[in-house]
C-alpha cells in the first residue's frame, strides 16, 4: 500500500523525474540555438521542486518507509535541499558553457545524478545505498568526459570512471561481507545488532575499512584523492564545481549516516583512524595546493583539504559534531560553487585557466573581483563569510570531544590555506595585465551567470552572518542520528 508518508518521503525525487521527463519531451522540438534554455527549465524546475518539497514534503519524526529502503528524516531532507540548490546553480552555469550548454543531455544527466544523490542521503539499506551511489556516479562519469574531442575532458571522464568503478567495487565487497556475517542489509538493524554485541567487532573493522575506500573516493579523502585534481581540471568547469560540492556532500551524507547510526558502538577504534585520516587529508591537500598554477587544480586540492576539516566533525561523534559537519558542507557547497562559477565565467570569456591569467581581474570586472574575494576569503575561513563560522563550529566540536591535537593540526592548516588563497587574490587585485589596458578587456557576465553568482554570494554571506537558522536546521538534522 502506498501511503502519503511514502509519497512525501520521495516527493523531491518524483519532481526531479518529472523535470527530466519534461526535458526529454520538450528538447527535441526546440531549435538548436534555443536548446540552451533547457538550463532555465532545469534551474527553475529544481527551485520549484525545492519549494514544493518544503511545503508538502517535510519530514516529521524519523521513520523508515518504502519497505525499509528509505529513511524519512531531517538529515536526508536537509541534504536533498542542498543538492537541489547545487543542481539549480550548476544548471545555470551549464548554460553558457561551450560544448555543454546547448545539449539537452547535459541537463538530463545532471538531473539523473541529482536523483541518485537524493537517494544516497536517505538510504536506510545497503542495497539501496549502493544503487543510489551508482545512479549518482554513472551520469557524472559521462558529464566529466562530456566535451567531445577535448583530450583532457576525455581523460577526466575515463579516469573518474576507472577510479570510481574500482573503489565502488571494493565498497560493494564490504557491503556483501556485512550481509554475510549479519544476515541483514538494513542499516538500522545493523546498529542494534552491534549494540547488542551479537556481531564480532574485529571483522566489522575490516569491513569498515573496505567501505571507507568507496566513500573516501566520493569525498576525496587522502589517499583516495588522486583523481580529484585531474578530473576537476579536465572536466567542464560547472561539472567540476558540481563534483566538488554536491557529490562530495552526498558522500558525507552517507558517511555521517552510516558511521553515526550503524557503527558508533565501537567508536574509539575507528574515530582515531578517521582523526588520522583527517589530519593527513588536510595537510596533504593544503601542501599540494601551494605550488599549483592552474586555478582549477588549486581549488581541487583545497577541496581535498576541506574534506579533512569536515571530517573533524565526524571524528567528534557528538551531536554538535554532526551538526557542524552538515553546516560545514552547506557553507562549503555555496562557497565552492561560487568559486567554480567565477572560474567558469572568467574562462568563458578569456578561455584561460591559469592563476596568473587572473591578473587585473578586479579592474576588468570589479563585480567578479569582489565575488572572488568573497569566495576565497570564505574558503580561507574569514568572516563575515560562511567559511569562518563553519570552521569555528567544526573546531569547537573537535575540542569538545577532546581532539585538541586534531584541531591544532586544522588550525596550522588553515594558516597554510590563508597563504595560498591570498596569493590568488593578489593576482586579482594587485597585479595588472601586461599592457595595463584592462578597460579594453572587460569581462561581461551573461544573465544566467549573473543570477547564479549573485545568489551564491548572498548565500555565502548569509551563512556567515545570520547563521542561526542554518545551524538550527543542521542541528535538527544531526538530532535524527541519535
Amino acid at each position: 500500500m502506498f501511503t502519503s508518508t511514502m509519497f512525501a518521503s520521495i516527493l523531491p525525487e518524483i519532481l526531479i523525474l518529472t523535470i527530466a521527463m519534461l526535458i526529454l519531451v520538450v528538447e527535441p522540438f526546440w531549435k538548436e540555438e534555443k536548446r540552451r534554455n533547457v538550463g532555465w527549465l532545469t534551474a527553475g524546475g529544481l527551485l520549484a521542486a525545492m519549494v514544493i518539497s518544503f511545503l508538502f514534503g517535510q519530514p516529521g519524526d524519523p521513520i523508515t518507509t518504502l519497505g525499509g529502503m528509505v529513511r524519512f528524516d531531517w538529515l536526508g531532507f536537509f541534504f536533498k535541499m542542498l543538492f537541489m540548490f547545487a543542481g539549480a546553480a550548476t544548471a545555470l552555469l551549464f548554460m553558457d558553457s561551450e560544448k555543454v550548454g546547448h545539449r539537452g543531455e547535459a541537463y538530463l544527466l545532471l538531473l539523473a545524478s541529482l536523483l541518485g544523490m537524493n537517494l544516497m542521503a536517505v538510504s536506510a539499506d545497503l542495497v539501496m545505498l549502493y544503487l543510489a551511489i551508482e545512479t549518482t556516479s554513472i551520469p557524472l562519469y559521462v558529464l566529466a568526459g562530456f566535451m567531445l574531442g577535448d583530450a583532457k575532458s576525455t581523460e577526466a571522464g575515463f579516469k573518474y570512471l576507472l577510479f570510481g568503478a574500482l573503489t565502488s567495487t571494493v565498497m560493494l565487497y564490504g557491503f556483501s561481507l556485512v550481509f554475510g556475517f549479519s544476515g541483514t542489509t538494513d542499516i538500522y538493524q545493523l546498529a542494534s545488532m552491534f549494540q547488542a554485541g551479537s556481531l564480532s567487532i574485529g571483522s566489522a573493522l575490516g569491513v569498515l575499512a573496505l567501505i571507507v575506500v568507496g566513500l573516501g573516493f566520493k569525498v576525496s579523502i587522502v589517499p583516495f584523492h588522486f583523481w580529484a585534481p585531474d578530473v576537476y581540471e579536465g572536466s567542464p568547469t560547472p561539472v567540476a564545481g558540481f563534483l566538488s560540492t554536491a557529490s562530495k556532500a552526498a558522500g558525507f551524507a552517507v558517511l555521517v549516516r552510516l558511521f553515526f547510526v550503524a557503527f558508533p558502538s565501537f567508536a574509539p577504534s575507528w574515530t582515531l583512524a578517521f582523526a588520522i585520516l583527517a589530519a593527513i587529508t588536510m595537510t596533504v591537500g593544503n601542501l599540494l595546493a601551494l605550488p599549483q598554477t592552474n586555478i582549477k587544480r588549486l581549488i581541487a586540492f583545497s577541496s581535498v583539504a576541506h574534506a579533512g576539516y569536515a571530517l573533524i566533525g565526524v571524528v567528534a561523534l557528538t551531536q554538535l559534531g554532526a551538526a557542524s559537519v552538515v553546516f560545514y558542507l552547506a557553507a562549503y557547497l555555496a562557497t565552492n560553487l561560487l568559486a567554480f562559477g567565477i572560474v567558469m565565467a572568467f574562462s568563458r570569456v578569456t578561455g584561460l585557466e591559469d592563476i596568473k591569467d587572473y591578473s587585473g581581474l578586479s579592474r576588468r570586472s570589479p563585480a567578479l573581483g569582489l565575488m572572488m574575494l568573497a569566495a576565497f576569503l570564505s574558503l580561507a575561513g574569514m568572516p563575515p563569510f560562511g567559511g569562518f563560522v563553519a570552521k569555528v563550529f567544526v573546531f569547537a566540536a573537535g575540542i569538545q570531544a577532546g581532539y585538541l591535537w586534531l584541531v591544532i593540526v586544522g588550525i596550522l592548516n588553515s594558516i597554510i590555506g590563508v597563504y595560498y588563497y591570498l596569493n590568488v587574490l593578489k593576482y586579482v587585485y594587485l597585479y595588472r595585465m601586461p599592457e595595463q589596458d584592462e578597460e579594453n578587456h572587460l569581462i561581461p557576465l551573461s544573465r544566467p551567470y549573473a543570477i547564479a553568482l549573485a545568489v551564491l554570494v548572498i548565500g555565502v554571506i548569509l551563512i556567515g552572518t545570520v547563521f542561526a537558522p542554518w545551524f538550527s536546521w543542521s542541528d535538527a538534522a544531526a538530532m535524527n542520528l541519535f
Binding site: S362, R363, P366, L370, L373, L377, M382, P383, P384, F388, V389, V392, F393, F395, A396, I399, Q400, L404, V407, I408, I411, S414, I415, V418, Y419, L422, L425, K426, Y429, L430, F467, A468, F471, S472, D475
Partner: protein
C-alpha cells in the same frame, strides 16, 4: 530597549561600504562624500556615547542583546565600560580623520590621498572599521572574535593594493600571517574556555560576563593564559612578535597606517586585556612577570631602533612598538595606577600616532621621499603641519600638559610599585624618544630645504588641516584636563581589579 546606539555605530561603516560598492566606479567624489558622511556620523555617535556614559553607575552601559544562535549561546551582546568607551571614540576620530586625509589632492605634483579606485579603498577601510568597533563593544566572546577577524583581513588588501610599491606584497603577507596565526592560537584557547565553562557551570554561553564566573581551575588558567594573551597581543605589537608592525606601517598608505597604529594595535591590546587578563585572572597573576619582561624590552628596544632609523615611517613604526610596550607594561602591573595609565595611553597613543602618520603621509606625497636626511625646511612650506608634528612630538616624549604625560606617569608609578628596576630601565626610553623626536623636528622641519625639493612643495590642504586640528585638540584637552578621561578609565579598571581579587 533604548536607542541601539552601539550597534548603529558598529554597522554604519559596514552599510556605507556596501553602498559604496554598489556605486559606479567613476563616481569618485560621490564615493568620498558617502565615506565622509558615514565617518562623521560614526564620530558624532561615538562622542555622544562618550559623554552620555554615566560614570556614577559605571559598569557596562548602552547594553543591547539579541540572541544570535541560542543553541550555542551566541548572542549579539553589546555594551561599553570605562575601558572601551574612549577606544570607541578613538576609532571614530581616526576614521573621520583618515577619510579626510585620503580625500586626495589631484595636483600633479602632489597626488595625495587615494586616486586609484577610491571606491574599493573606502569600502575595505570601512569594513575594517566595523570590525574594530565590533571588538570594542562586544561582550560576547564569539562575536568579539568574529569582529576581530573582520578587522584583520582587509588590511591585506589595503596594504597590498594601495601600499608602497617596493615592500607592499611582502609586508602585507607578513602582517596577515602574523595576525592570523595569533588569532587562531587565541581561538583554540577561546574554544577551550567555552567548553570548560560548560563543564563547570552547565551553561552553554559565550557571554563574557558569565564566563568571568566560570571558575576556571588554576591549572587551566596557567596553561591557557599565555596562548590567549599573546595570541591577541601579537596585534598589539608585543615584543618579540612585533616585527610585522613596522613593515606594515611603512608599506601601508597613509590612512591605513593611521588605522593600523592608531586603532588596530589597540584592538590587540584590548582583546588581550579583556579575554586574557579579565577571564583568566589567575593566569595573569602567574605570568605577569613574563609580560612585564616582554613589554619592558619592547619599550626600550623599540625606542632604540626608532632612534637609528633614517626612514620617517620606520621611525614612527618602531616608536609605536615602544609606546604599545608601555601599554602592555601597564597591563602587566595588574594594579590600579598601571592599568589606568595603560587605558589612557591606548587613547593617547592612538591619536598621537595617527597624527604622526598623517603628517608623514602629507610630506611623502609632496616630496616622494621619507629619508630623514633628504628632507628639510618643511616649516616654511607647511607651518600648520609643523605645529601639529611638534605637538605630537611633545605628547610622544611625555611632556606635562599633553596626554602622553597623563598616560605615562601612572604607568611608571604602577611599575615602580611592582618592580622598581623595570621602571628605571623603561624610563630610559623617554630619553631616547626625546632624542629622536627632537632630531627629527630639527632636520625635517627646520633644517635647510634640499635643492631637489625647492619648488615642488605645497602646503597641506584644508581637509588636512581639519584633521590635524582635531587630533591635536584631543591631546591637549586630555593633557590639560585629565579629568576628561582618567576617571572614566578608572571605572573600567575597578572592574578589572575586582576580577583580579581585591586591591
Amino acid at each position: 530597549m533604548n536607542f541601539p546606539v552601539l550597534s548603529i555605530i558598529t554597522f554604519i561603516p559596514m552599510v556605507a561600504a556596501a553602498i559604496m560598492l554598489l556605486m559606479p566606479a567613476q563616481r569618485k567624489n560621490e564615493t568620498r562624500a558617502v565615506a565622509l558622511a558615514a565617518a562623521t556620523l560614526a564620530l558624532i555617535l561615538s562622542i555622544w556615547v562618550y559623554f552620555n556614559y554615566d560614570q556614577a553607575t559605571a559598569g557596562y552601559q548602552f547594553i543591547e542583546r539579541y540572541n544570535w544562535l541560542p543553541a550555542l549561546g551566541i548572542s549579539l551582546y553589546f555594551g561599553v565600560d570605562g575601558m572601551s568607551t574612549p577606544l570607541v571614540m578613538l576609532t571614530g576620530v581616526v576614521m573621520f580623520t583618515g577619510v579626510l586625509i585620503s580625500w586626495g589632492d589631484d595636483d600633479k605634483h602632489v597626488m595625495a590621498g587615494i586616486q586609484d579606485r577610491p571606491r574599493e579603498f573606502f569600502a575595505f577601510l570601512f569594513i575594517l572599521a566595523s570590525g574594530v568597533f565590533g571588538v570594542f563593544v562586544s561582550l560576547d566572546l564569539f562575536m568579539l572574535f568574529f569582529f576581530y577577524e573582520i578587522a584583520v583581513f582587509p588590511m591585506y588588501l589595503l596594504i597590498a593594493i594601495w601600499g608602497w610599491v617596493q615592500t607592499r606584497e611582502y609586508a602585507a603577507m607578513k602582517l596577515t600571517l602574523y595576525l592570523f596565526i595569533g588569532s587562531v592560537v587565541s581561538l583554540v584557547g577561546v574554544l577551550a574556555m567555552f567548553w570548560v565553562q560548560y563543564q563547570n557551570t552547565g551553561l552553554l554561553t559565550f557571554d563574557m560576563l558569565q564566563m568571568e564566573k566560570a571558575g576556571f581551575s588554576q591549572a587551566f588558567q596557567y596553561i591557557w593564559f599565555l596562548p590567549v594573551f599573546l595570541g591577541f597581543a601579537v596585534l598589539g605589537g608585543i615584543w618579540p612578535f612585533h616585527n610585522w608592525s613596522p613593515d606594515g606601517h611603512v608599506a601601508a598608505p597613509t590612512a591605513v597606517s593611521m588605522f593600523h597604529a592608531g586603532v588596530l594595535m589597540k584592538l590587540g591590546a584590548f582583546a588581550a586585556l579583556r579575554v586574557g587578563v579579565m577571564l583568566l585572572p589567575e593566569g595573569a597573576k602567574q605570568w605577569s612577570w613574563l609580560i612585564m619582561i616582554f613589554a619592558g624590552v619592547a619599550v626600550v628596544y623599540g625606542a632604540y631602533i626608532a632612534f637609528v632609523q633614517m626612514d620617517l615611517k620606520y621611525m614612527i613604526g618602531f616608536s609605536s612598538v615602544s609606546h604599545m610596550g608601555l601599554v602592555m607594561l601597564g597591563f602587566s602591573t595588574l594594579n590600579r595606577a598601571g592599568l589606568t595609565g595603560a587605558g589612557v595611553q591606548m587613547f593617547s597613543h592612538g591619536v598621537m600616532t595617527a597624527l604622526f602618520f598623517a603628517i608623514t603621509g602629507m610630506i611623502y606625497d609632496r616630496s616622494h621621499t621619507r629619508q630623514i636626511p633628504e628632507l628639510g625646511g618643511m616649516s616654511k612650506i607647511m607651518p600648520f603641519a609643523t605645529v601639529g608634528f611638534i605637538i605630537g612630538g611633545l605628547v610622544s616624549m611625555g611632556m606635562p600638559g599633553f596626554s602622553g604625560f597623563v598616560a605615562e606617569f601612572p604607568i611608571f608609578m604602577g611599575v615602580w610599585r611592582v618592580q622598581w628596576l623595570v621602571a628605571v630601565i623603561a624610563s630610559i626610553s623617554i630619553i631616547i624618544t626625546a632624542a629622536y623626536i627632537m632630531r627629527n623636528i630639527r632636520q625635517v622641519f627646520f633644517g635647510d630645504m634640499p635643492a631637489k625639493l625647492e619648488g615642488h612643495m605645497t602646503d597641506v590642504t584644508i581637509l588636512d588641516k581639519v584633521a590635524i586640528t582635531t587630533l591635536c585638540l584631543l591631546m591637549i584637552i586630555i593633557g590639560l584636563f585629565p579629568s576628561f578621561m582618567v576617571p572614566m578609565v578608572e571605572k573600567g579598571v575597578e572592574n578589572i581589579l575586582r576580577l583580579l581579587g581585591g586591591a
